[in-house]
């Protein structure tokens, strides 16, 4: 049984990493909350769930995430059509723009958004500041790309002959869409919607910055309970609730995905026609919506003392007004790049192992269940509070042999855990689409398992590996949640530098923060553009 032995060994490595760097810290935090005096206090936990405040928080979480998900789907599906079924110049750039918000640090976006809707801002007249509309807008901003990529990847591979057949049988374009195309896309839409709902219901930075204090979701509530009130029992109660909901969502997303194995072939895209005008306009509007906060950020970075200037960019070589930084912003950028290289390497290494295992086609129902479980467990980091994870690191990885709190690898490892699900989602579909008989043919001709990997999997998967690496790299560049808990200030990443700059007074610091944000956005956009050139449709899809 050499195959199964191999699978067990391969599975053990990422599982061990997940246990040590995710499950164990989270369990440590929950443990503190559930056993405040050393014995289990379930009464306290249940008590938390009966508080009116908790009910308000839960209700807000559900409706804001639900509505944002619906909006993201309504906007994302037409955009997916335009960006993935039509063919026109500049499409690659637009596709990169659509995923960009996903990799931008929330702290940057939060500030950019607020600048936009604050009463003096570009959209100030709409009086959105502090309203749930602003939160919804930001949630859609972050997540519409997920829908576009997921649905687009599926749409691209859809065999258009089924649509042609329906048309030949007399179906109007609308009927073709509702009776053939939509049902075929449904698994992708459901999968994307559940992941977006997951992201929205666990959104943190955006809700905290834009919600003021009026609106809190489960995630910000956990943050407040943990960091401000030290009410770990309540935090644990909410975390457990969150974990349960996430598990259900991931299971739903998994079931939906099962119905949609992306096709290996890419259907020919066509040039836009007159009839596409509406959709193209909608796409332009969505892209405009995604670009506006970023443009306002660029403008802010170039304004100094009422005029245009590159001063804020020149300032990046210094350490800010009033020594706001311990190192210069450029050092922060260098460090960010280094950390991103490390994080992307870890994520790729682990992600490829996981993707390899989940892309095998199991032959018994038992093995299938095990595979699904394995797959799901590695998606969990997507939906667990960064606060819980960050604090968990602090209280669990604090003694030998796991005394890692001061290790320079801690930040890359934490970021790798965040990027891991994205790497898996990028690589696994490509590996699954490889006909297993290719591997069997090679093996029968005398190629050992490693040789099969090199000769069959690698030539077909290298693009997706490269794309996943780039994606992980971009995500790491922008990661703020977990990093802010773990980064050491003498070795900050650029988002941490930006956060420090905006938390210190002085117009120069704020200007530097906008300049640094632009630098960060340009860096991530460049990486995403390169990734886009590889034309791996599973990037950013779920």
């Amino acid at each position: 049984m050499p195959r199964r032995t191999g699978a067990v060994v391969l599975a053990a490595i990422p599982l061990a990493v997940l246990v040590v760097f995710f499950l164990y810290p989270v369990a440590g935090m929950l443990d503190r909350g559930l056993r405040p005096d050393g014995h289990l206090d379930l009464g306290g936990v249940l008590d938390v769930l009966t508080r009116p405040r908790v009910h308000r928080v839960l209700w807000f979480t559900v409706w804001s995430a639900g509505l944002a998900t619906a909006l993201a789907v309504l906007l994302g599906v037409p955009v997916a059509f335009v960006l993935h079924r039509l063919r026109f110049r500049g499409q690659g750039l637009l596709r990169a723009v659509v995923v960009l918000p996903f990799v931008l640090p929330t702290v940057v976006v939060g500030v950019a958004f607020r600048q936009l809707i604050a009463q003096g801002g570009l959209l100030g007249g709409l009086d959105l500041d502090g309203t749930p509309v602003a939160i919804l807008g930001a949630l859609v901003f972050f997540n519409v790309g997920v829908v576009v990529r997921t649905v687009g990847a599926l749409w691209e591979g859809l065999d258009h002959r089924a649509e042609e057949a329906a048309a030949a049988l007399g179906a109007t374009p609308r009927q073709v869409f509702t009776t053939v195309t939509l049902p075929a896309l449904l698994p992708g839409i459901v999968s994307a919607a559940s992941v977006v709902f997951l992201f929205c219901s666990t959104a943190f930075g955006v809700v905290l910055t834009l919600g003021g204090l009026r609106y809190a979701n489960v995630e910000t509530e956990i943050y407040l309970l943990t960091t401000q009130e030290l009410d770990l029992t309540s935090a644990a109660a909410l975390s457990i609730l969150q974990l349960l909901v996430i598990t259900v969502l991931l299971a739903g997303s998994h079931r939906a995905r099962r119905g949609a194995v992306p096709h290996a072939h890419t259907a020919a895209a066509r040039r836009p026609r007159r009839g596409d005008a509406g959709l193209v306009l909608l796409t332009a509007a969505v892209v405009g919506f995604l670009l506006t906060p970023m443009v306002s950020l660029v403008v802010a970075s170039l304004r100094d003392q009422g005029g245009w200037s590159l001063q804020h960019y020149r300032d990046l070589q210094g350490d800010g007004e009033g020594n706001a930084l311990l190192v210069t912003a450029t050092t922060g950028l260098t460090h960010s790049l280094l950390v991103a290289v490390q994080a992307a390497s870890f994520a790729l290494l682990l992600g490829v192992l996981v993707a390899f295992l989940v892309s095998r086609r199991p032959r018994s129902p038992g093995a299938e269940r095990l595979r699904a479980l394995f797959d799901g467990v590695f998606m969990l980091p997507l939906g667990v509070s960064a606060v819980t994870l960050g604090f968990g690191f602090l209280i669990t990885l604090d003694r030998p042999p796991l005394d890692l709190r001061t290790s320079p690898l801690l930040v890359p490892i934490a970021q790798a855990m965040v990027a891991l699900p994205l790497v898996v989602r990028t690589v696994a579909p490509v590996l699954s689409s490889i006909d297993p008989r290719q591997r069997e043919a090679a093996a029968s001709l005398g190629a050992g398992p490693l040789r099969v990997l090199r000769d069959v999997d690698l030539p077909l998967a290298w693009r997706s590996l490269l794309a996943a690496t780039g994606f992980a790299f971009a995500v790491s560049l922008g990661e703020f949640g977990a990093t802010s808990f773990l980064a050491r200030d003498d070795h900050p990443t650029l988002p941490v530098v930006i956060f420090r700059l905006i938390s210190h007074p002085g117009e120069a610091n704020f200007g530097m923060a906008t300049a640094a944000s632009v630098v960060l956005a340009v860096a991530t956009t460049s990486v995403m553009l390169l990734v886009e050139r590889l034309r791996v449709s599973s990037v950013g899809a779920f």
Binding site: T5, V8, V9, A11, A12, L15, A16, V19, V20, Y24, A27, D31, R32, R53, V111, R114, Q115, A118, Q119, G120, G124, D129, G130, L208, T209, G212, L213, R214, Y215, L224, T226, T227, Q228, E229, L230, D231, Q305, D319, E321, G322, N323, A324, L326, F391, L394, I395, T396, D398, R405, R488, D489, D490, R500, I502, S503, P505, G506, E507, F510, G511
Partner: protein, 355 residues
């Protein structure tokens, strides 16, 4: 072969999970202070830490100790992190626990005793009673309402002066403050109102809410985004900030700030330093606390962290004596009382402000 591997990986999993269960029981006894300090010193502090590199280099030159700064969020987060990690402290020394969180840190046994000789003028900032031995005052600051004078001049509106003014219809929708649950200046402002109105503070806050006060998550949001003079495109000319904020609004080429602090609305925040219990380099921590009380460090505080040195004999930066005066009669609340009532006050405050 296969069974062995399965067993091995199962053991690995079980082992990792078991780690969560053990560990918290073993408490470290207070380490003895060695005669020789370690070569590096880790200082946990809040996100507002900033200091001249030259000053820090002087400390290293004097003592041979390199200081590693670890910012851990705001004062509240800092304190709570230290409480959570007290079994295996994340640093040797802490700087930045303020009088609103001092009691929690002390009650939770985060700190060990160290009582350096204070500059004569610093005595007034010391904690009362036994607590004085655990935390050393380093600086203080006044959290005050700030106003954009230019805005009020331009609009021809008389600027507010007192807390009561903020609830007046004249200033409806003009005031922004960071929240008490999410930021330390916000908590300080809540305590200001507690000190000013006693048990009646909730009704004052209800009036503020009725007057459309905007409550942001953090100081950054309130000052840099919503305040008219904070660098962003804000629309609120009244903001909760510090008495030291105005000098930073002197325009380039100008000589006077465009904003000022309302000195009748201030809460006095004192920031303390202490040696953490279980520190790996307690001697170094003590040396660093001594250093923070030297004139060199004290003098560098205003420019770097916008706070006033506890050694009031050191000269302040230019302009501070005119534009960054401290309150003569700041509001205060006894730290022990803060610790006792904090959760209740915050819960009530949250219910009022988030309706």
């Amino acid at each position: 072969m296969r069974t062995r591997l399965i067993t091995a990986s199962a053991l690995l999993l079980a082992g990792a999970l078991a780690l969560t269960a053990c560990g918290s029981e073993e408490k470290k006894a207070d380490q003895k202070v060695d005669q020789k300090p370690g070569k590096t010193l880790v200082v946990a502090t809040h996100d507002s830490w900033a200091m001249d590199k030259k000053v820090m280099a002087d400390f290293t030159a004097k003592t041979g100790i390199t200081v590693k700064i670890q910012a851990q969020g705001d004062a509240g987060q800092l304190t709570n992190k230290l409480v959570l990690t007290k079994d295996e402290p994340i640093a040797d020394a802490v700087f930045g626990i303020d009088n609103t969180f001092a009691s929690r840190a002390i009650d939770e046994g985060v700190l060990s005793t160290y009582e350096p000789t204070l500059p004569a003028t610093a005595k007034q900032f010391e904690l009362q009673g036994e607590d004085a031995g655990s935390l050393t005052p380093v600086d203080y600051g006044d959290v005050c309402v700030n106003i954009d004078d230019t805005w009020f001049t331009k609009k021809g509106i008389t600027p507010p002066k007192t807390l009561d003014d903020l609830a007046s219809p004249t200033y409806k929708g003009l005031f922004v403050t960071p929240g008490a649950t999410t930021s330390s200046p916000g908590l300080a402002f809540l305590l200001t109102t507690v000190a000013a109105y006693g048990d009646d503070w909730p009704s004052y806050w209800k009036k503020l809410v009725a007057n459309d006060v905007k409550v942001d998550a953090g100081w950054t949001d309130a000052y840099t985004v919503d305040f008219t003079a904070g660098g962003g495109n804000g629309s609120k000319p009244i903001v909760l900030s510090y008495s030291s904020s105005p000098p930073f609004t002197v325009p380039k080429g100008g000589t006077e700030p465009t904003t000022s602090a309302l000195l009748d609305t201030c809460f006095r925040q004192v920031e303390y330093a202490g040696v953490l219990r279980g520190a790996k380099n307690p001697k170094g921590a003590q040396l660093f606390i001594d250093f923070m009380l030297t004139r060199e460090f004290q003098q560098a505080l205003p420019d770097n962290m916008f706070v006033y040195p506890v050694d009031t004999t050191v000269p302040l930066p230019a302009g501070w004596d005119t534009w960054a005066k401290t309150a003569t009669k700041p509001y205060t609340v006894d730290p022990a009382e803060v610790t006792e009532h904090r959760s209740d006050w915050l819960r009530e405050w949250r219910d009022i402000t988030t309706g």
